[in-house]
Amino acid sequence: MKRFFSHIWITAIHEFKDSIRSRWAISLMLIYLAICMFMSYQFTGFLADAEVELIKTMGVSEGAKTGAVTSRLWDIGIAKNTMMRTYKGDEKLVEHLMQAHPVVLVFAWFTVILGAMLTLLMSSPRVADELGTRSARFVLYRSDQLSWCLGKYWGQAIVLLPVFLISAFGVWCISAFRLEGFERLKMLSYLLEYGLMSYLYVLAWLGLATCVSQLTKSQFLAVAFAIGGAFIFAIIEGFHEHLRERGTDHPNWRQLVDVLYQFTPMSYRGHLWGPELSRQIIAGLMLIGLGHLFLVIGYFATYRRDI
């Protein structure tokens, strides 16, 4: 057992260093950071314009500076209605989210989507590539496949953590520069907190990436499988939303979709953003557990295969 965990650690550290040296990972991370910065730049611009319009049309405090009346945007109800629809039945969560600054919410929203895509693109080729080039043959007579894959998983997880924290910091810099009424310290802690939550969220996607990566020896096919997996999750989520809003005459269908939904990372997103720490911790653990479940499924599908 000691050897098992030691191999995970050794491989994780090696994988981290290897990913940093790999141009593919660095390129994807830079693209991700650039998109985050661009999105926050555009959004803060939109927010400033919207506030000016709000001041003009609703006659709200003309002397107020940009960013100081953002809460008024929330008061008009559109955002609240959207959230109520998305998180139907979870009043506490909606109230909690309504207290956050829109910049934070938008950041949280696009980092979970963009972060999941980044993770799938960056991590799904990692095992497949080594199986394809057969460099795995130098490793897998010294270490077993499960500890090697777990090491790869945690190595990638170490790579991803600074990406989410740096992107949160980047968004904070742009917002602090563009929005005058921005409460800097409070917002920094909010953004870092949501950055960390997004990170926990993508750990489940990382498990999916490592799972599909074991199924093929082609890195391109691995990426295709990963995107296919994400598509299946999106369909399940869509069905789940549909059945929750419209209901169905077939309770068995509803139960099946509910169970399947529990195996998608999306089902824990709301809990992660919730007001209670205990729910956040449980959601975080469930997402990590889900990531490992996907990884182990990939392992059991392939462990008898010749290397």
């Binding site: 050794i10 260093k17 290897d18 057969r134 007579y141 010294r142 270490s143 010749d306 290397i307």
Partner: protein
């Protein structure tokens, strides 16, 4: 321990194709064991099974008297230089060996020391900080040889270690392998039989997944009295039919690949007696003779055994 490896009735099926067809083999401890066979004879499959990379279909394997390959038991004790396997391009030479060393159970410091020793042995020490992708084909081959000697392995499989090496490196590697005689058990497969003959002490001939013959090299080369007449490259081919007619007591064959005429005498008579009669007759056929060698060679014996 008498044998480093004992194999009985080893079978490996790929669909309907049998790569190994009831292979039996014993490899003495401390020997340098040459595996000879045509492409598809099963040498690579045999080595891959013994190092845990390929799962056997049936058969009994006992490695270092500790049963079939088990990563918990044999990691660090059994190593392999797999055929046609690449190394990760973006890793540094020293870092990859250190990683493999750590997986083999060495501490960080021991792994660094072992990697330096292995790189020194294959003349790559000065490239230890280079990225693997910057190495030439020959250097890559030497690096893969180095990884097989990391730490203190007891049983080493080298699949075609000489391929892609320049003459100087072939010489160095041969001397390096020879220096481990009696200390480690080394199994080498190669198509360059003259090379194997220079450092192996045991040889096995394989054909279509079966063992044809296995014996100490000395025994194989000293069967009967064999004389090899090396013709010069520009010499015309000898008239074997005429020579056979005149010397019916001997078996005479011409190998055009190495331009050698082989004479085998199973009965009485010394080499000097035979040469006294045979060389004038040979020269009379118009051939140009470079030298006469006493004893058989591995190539002759392999061709003889494989029909």
């Amino acid at each position: 321990m008498k044998y480093a490896l004992e194999i009985q009735g080893l079978v490996k099926k790929y669909g309907k194709f049998n790569a190994l067809n009831g292979l039996n083999m014993t490899i003495p401890v401390g020997s340098i064991f040459g595996l000879v066979g045509a492409n598809g004879a099963g040498k690579t499959t045999f080595m891959s099974i013994c190092s845990g990379l390929v799962k056997p279909t049936t058969g009994r394997i006992d490695i270092l008297e500790r049963g079939p390959f088990d990563i918990d038991v044999h990691s660090g004790l059994v190593t392999i230089l797999p055929q046609d396997s690449g190394l990760p391009h973006y890793t540094k030479v020293e870092a990859i060996l250190q990683y493999y060393g750590r997986l083999a159970g060495l501490s960080s410091r021991e792994a660094l020391r072992a990697s330096h020793a292995a790189l020194d042995a294959v003349n790559l020490y000065d490239r230890r900080k280079s990225l693997i992708r910057s190495l030439s084909h020959g250097m890559l081959r030497r690096l893969t040889v180095a990884q097989a000697f990391l730490g203190d392995p007891q049983l080493i499989f080298l699949d075609e270690p000489m391929s892609g090496l320049d003459p100087r490196e072939v010489y160095n590697l041969r001397e390096f392998i020879r220096s481990h005689r009696g200390k480690k058990t080394i199994v080498v497969s190669s198509h360059i039989l003259s090379e194997l003959q220079q450092f192996c002490d045991h040889v096995a001939f394989m054909k279509t997944g079966r063992l044809m013959e296995q014996a100490p090299l000395e025994d194989i080369l000293s069967r009967g009295l064999t004389l090899r007449y090396q013709l010069s490259p520009s010499s015309p081919d000898p008239n074997v039919d005429k020579l056979t007619q005149n010397f019916q007591a001997y078996r005479i064959e011409f190998h055009s690949s190495n331009r050698q005429l082989i004479l085998t005498a199973d009965g009485a008579g010394t080499a000097a007696d035979i040469n006294k009669m045979f060389i004038p007759a040979l020269l009379n056929t118009g051939v140009r003779l470079d030298q006469v060698l006493l004893g058989s060679d591995l190539e002759t014996e392999y061709l003889e055994a494989s029909g």
